[in-house]
Symmetry: C2
């Protein structure tokens, strides 16, 4: 299946078969793990595997954040985690949240990292260096590239909100991503849930392009406003990410069931407004 369908196809299939727009973010912080997992050599893998297995039928995507693995020399555990998802939950695409961005020759190396080493279905990329910094990823025609557009953090406005000839910088990024940069149809965008009006604006500029929306849960974004602003014409089009609120819902041996309960409630809260 994976060799013949694209990331966007697989995402569309997951939206339908799961009846879910929920993306489960995997930001494993060992300081927050349940006591019984602490200190094991593969604690990061074991923690994430339990979350994945408990939520896979509720998720349209999984999004491991690479910094949490790299800070702890746990690249091997990230590889094992993605291999586990691909083997046991092959219908759920994996987004490697890495926010890479570099000149073409270096971007080729980052694409090998994301798509060959980790075998991710899609990777997040920073647009600051422009079109030729994005192009090398598109050589993997069955994968996706999710460009930062409007980020959910307070400083996101510092540059993204600047007026560039009658529109804001993030709007320009959205137009480029929906236009000439997307000649292969592999692009999607990151738009933070903390700004529903801006999600609506990006939706307006990008047709039915998939939007990855972080910022609900711990970051405070509103589910109803996010869904109403961002849903596509088909009532999907969104990967609404929640990480900490799901991962750390419980602190005991039943942490994965606690995570499932939050994931289920989040999925259903999202569906209420589609």
């Amino acid at each position: 299946m994976h060799t013949t369908s694209t990331f966007i196809d697989r995402l569309n299939a997951a939206w339908t078969t799961r009846n879910s727009l929920l993306c489960v973010g995997l930001d494993p912080d060992p300081a927050k793990f349940p006591a019984h997992l602490s200190g094991g050599p593969d604690a990061i893998f074991e923690f994430c595997k339990a979350i994945v297995d408990a939520t896979a039928d509720l998720a349209c995507a999984f999004k491991p954040q690479i910094a949490y693995f790299a800070a702890r020399r746990a690249e091997d555990q990230l590889e094992a985690l993605i291999a586990h998802i691909r083997e046991r939950h092959p219908e759920v695409p994996v987004i490697l949240d890495a926010k890479r961005g570099d000149i073409g020759s270096t971007a080729e190396q980052y694409a090998v990292e994301a798509f060959e080493r980790y075998r991710a279905d899609a990777v997040t990329v920073n647009p600051y260096m422009g079109r030729d910094s994005i192009e090398p990823y598109l050589a993997w025609s069955d994968r996706g590239v999710i460009l930062l557009c409007r980020t959910s953090n307070p400083g996101g406005s510092d540059l993204q909100f600047l007026d560039v000839g009658g529109e804001r910088l993030f709007e320009r990024v959205a137009r480029l991503a929906a236009g000439e940069w997307n000649h292969t149809g592999q692009l999607a965008l990151v738009v933070g849930a903390t700004f529903p009006a801006e999600i609506a604006r990006v939706r307006e500029l990008t047709g039915d392009m998939p939007l990855l929306v972080p910022g609900i849960g711990a970051q405070g974004g509103d589910v109803e406003a996010t869904v109403k602003a961002g849903r596509s014409s088909a009532g999907s089009g969104l990967m609404i990410n929640s990480s900490r609120a799901i991962l750390y819902a419980g602190k005991g041996e039943d942490f994965a069931q606690a995570a499932r309960a939050v994931a289920l409630a989040t999925r259903d809260a999202i569906n209420r407004y589609r």
Copy 2:
């Protein structure tokens, strides 16, 4: 020495003791290695170590590009390489070229990766996500953060050249980096050598802030124009990076001596215009 002096102090010392503004970029591509190194389990480390030992007295900094290591599961070789530089050439600061950029909680993880795991003296960071995406790195007060400003690739103009209220986006980044974002004095900027007029403009906006300038050598930037445009009032202020032209100067067993010859010629060419 390392615990009490800052990245900027160490860079200043290296400029003086080496009489050099040359930064040697370490972008190891095994396909280009000399035949006698091919296939060894630590070929990446061995190749880079030979280059480092042959050029350390000519360099004001070393800049390993992490993608070349990550694409080949060679994080351990990157750790070993930086440990080698710190032990054998402690007077040459190490810049981890990683171009990270993420929300605060994730940026904290990337800072641990760069500064604790790899023990780099400085790291390159993308400014697109704004001030709070940079702040976590500054908690390591003896390290440096080198923000992308004007990059050397063709697509660099796509966003960086947009007019934002009477100045271009990269000028705004330069002003922010030289102003309120630099409250700890730990920032520097990346400005590509392919655009001397823009180097001059960034120099004008940033006083004597250190500038990392990639793009001479394989990317075609002009040494004379770069130095004249970018030198500080003291005739330094620049880390002029060359990677491929040095690394792959020779293809035989004497590749490190060939690299040294190019590094020496490049250092001297730079010094001619200080």
